[in-house]
Amino acid sequence: MNPEVLENLRLELRRGCLIVAVLAELRTEQYGYTLRKSLTEHGIAIDEGTLYPLLRRLETQGLLASEWREQDKRNKRFYRLSSDGEVILAQLMIDWESMNSALDGILKDTGPKPPNPVEA
């Protein structure tokens, strides 16, 4: 088995999941550091070098809104889902449910379960 191929596939799988996870977490307003902690607590480890540029991209796409506010004597950038983001997240969750149940069916029908669940 080529580990590089596996790594690329895992990255591809993870990329889409991360976006859904970030959008879902930001239904409640948070700043970068607490968002990262919250994702980690849910089992999705993400480093700052990935999270912050992703937040910027999602904001540029209009899915997130942000504002600077002072908290604990420091300025922090708070992110939340925008109205466009809410619509898109709702659609993505429907797609996710549909994909998940379809995949479940395929995996049950066609063979053994994978040895390890994909690490997030």
Partner: protein
């Protein structure tokens, strides 16, 4: 927290200009939040090694900054920092080659416009360099799948925070580089074609042979000055090296001034037009006086800069001794 500031400074330099301050402020808050949480858990301030560990987890400055860049598809994010460095170096080297070609052409006594041609041709040369570098990296990315770049770095090796006033912008440095290149070519061509420097006055006056005897020195001075400007453009934050680099053209300038002040005549009358026969003594006297004052101020500035460099070295040695 000086290490954090050094890290953020390095990230900032590699970030796209747009939103630079905003991104840095957000990253700083994230790093400080991590530090505070770790310190609260440990019940003591973090050691340098622990701080280094947090920064290493953020990724090298170049790698972190590259993730904020758009359109990385052709090259790939991992190779992007190297691509930018190679591209900048290649464009800089190409410019220096064009400048040297212009200086050599001027030194060979060619007309000014012909001498400047290599500099005017630089945009097309730069485009070719850009195309080759980009194509090479794209090909490597395409055929090799990815370029393996080890993210080996140490925050302790990052340059110190620049606390001085904001230096020249990149545009200003580039303008200074182009102007110095054009001025060098103009001066070298003008010594052989005095009308380029004196204008209509060349009908009455011309340079004495003493100026042309120094011609090889003028060439070296021109190359040194252009190289200094190129260094300023390529390394805007390397203030200490910049000061060191500026000593070379200043020393050469002093040598040239020394020989000129000692030369008998600085200007001679055009034999076909002896209208300034009465004034030539005063012109030579006034010019020599001006050159003497210039030599003294150059010497004073040279000594001051050397003292400043030595003082910096001494201070660094002192800090190292205190830290050890």
């Amino acid at each position: 927290m000086e290490l954090v500031d050094r890290y953020l400074q390095a990230v900032k330099l590699a970030l796209p200009k747009r939103n630079q301050g905003d991104i840095i402020q957000e990253l700083k808050d994230s790093i400080l939040s991590q530090v505070e949480e770790r310190e609260a858990a440990l019940g003591r301030p973090l050691t340098e090694d622990e701080l280094v560990e947090i920064l290493r987890k953020m990724g090298s400055p170049a790698r972190l900054a590259s993730r904020y860049r758009e359109q990385q598809g052709l090259i790939g994010p991992a190779a992007m920092p190297i691509y930018w460095k190679v591209l900048q170096a290649a464009l800089g080297i190409a410019f220096l080659v064009q400048v040297i070609a212009a200086i050599v052409t001027a030194a060979a006594g060619r007309p000014l416009l012909m001498s400047l041609a290599p500099i005017f041709n630089y945009p097309s040369v730069a485009f070719t360099v850009f195309a080759w570098v980009t194509l090479s990296f794209a090909a490597l990315h395409f055929f090799d799948g990815r370029i393996q770049v080890k993210d080996q770095w140490d925050p302790r090796h990052l340059p110190p925070v620049v606390k001085t006033k904001r230096g020249k912008s990149r545009i200003e440095s580039l303008a200074a580089l182009v102007i110095s290149a054009i001025a060098t070519v103009w001066w070298l061509a003008g010594l052989r074609n005095p009308w380029l420097i004196m204008g209509p006055g060349a009908a009455f006056l011309t340079f004495a042979p003493g100026w042309l005897k120094l011609y090889p020195l003028w060439i070296v001075m021109g190359v040194a000055e252009v190289a200094r400007r190129a260094f300023e453009f390529a390394r805007p934050t390397a203030t200490r090296q910049r000061l060191l680099f500026s000593l070379v053209p200043r020393c050469l300038n002093l040598i040239a001034l020394f020989f000129l002040v000692r030369a008998g005549e600085l200007f001679v009358i055009n034999p076909n037009n002896p209208a300034l026969q009465q004034a030539i003594v005063a012109i030579n006297y006034g010019t020599r006086l001006g050159l003497t004052i210039a030599a003294m101020s150059t010497l004073a500035k040279l000594l001051y800069d050397m003292w400043k460099l030595m003082a910096q070295r001494f201070e660094q040695a002192h800090q190292a001794a205190v830290g050890s």
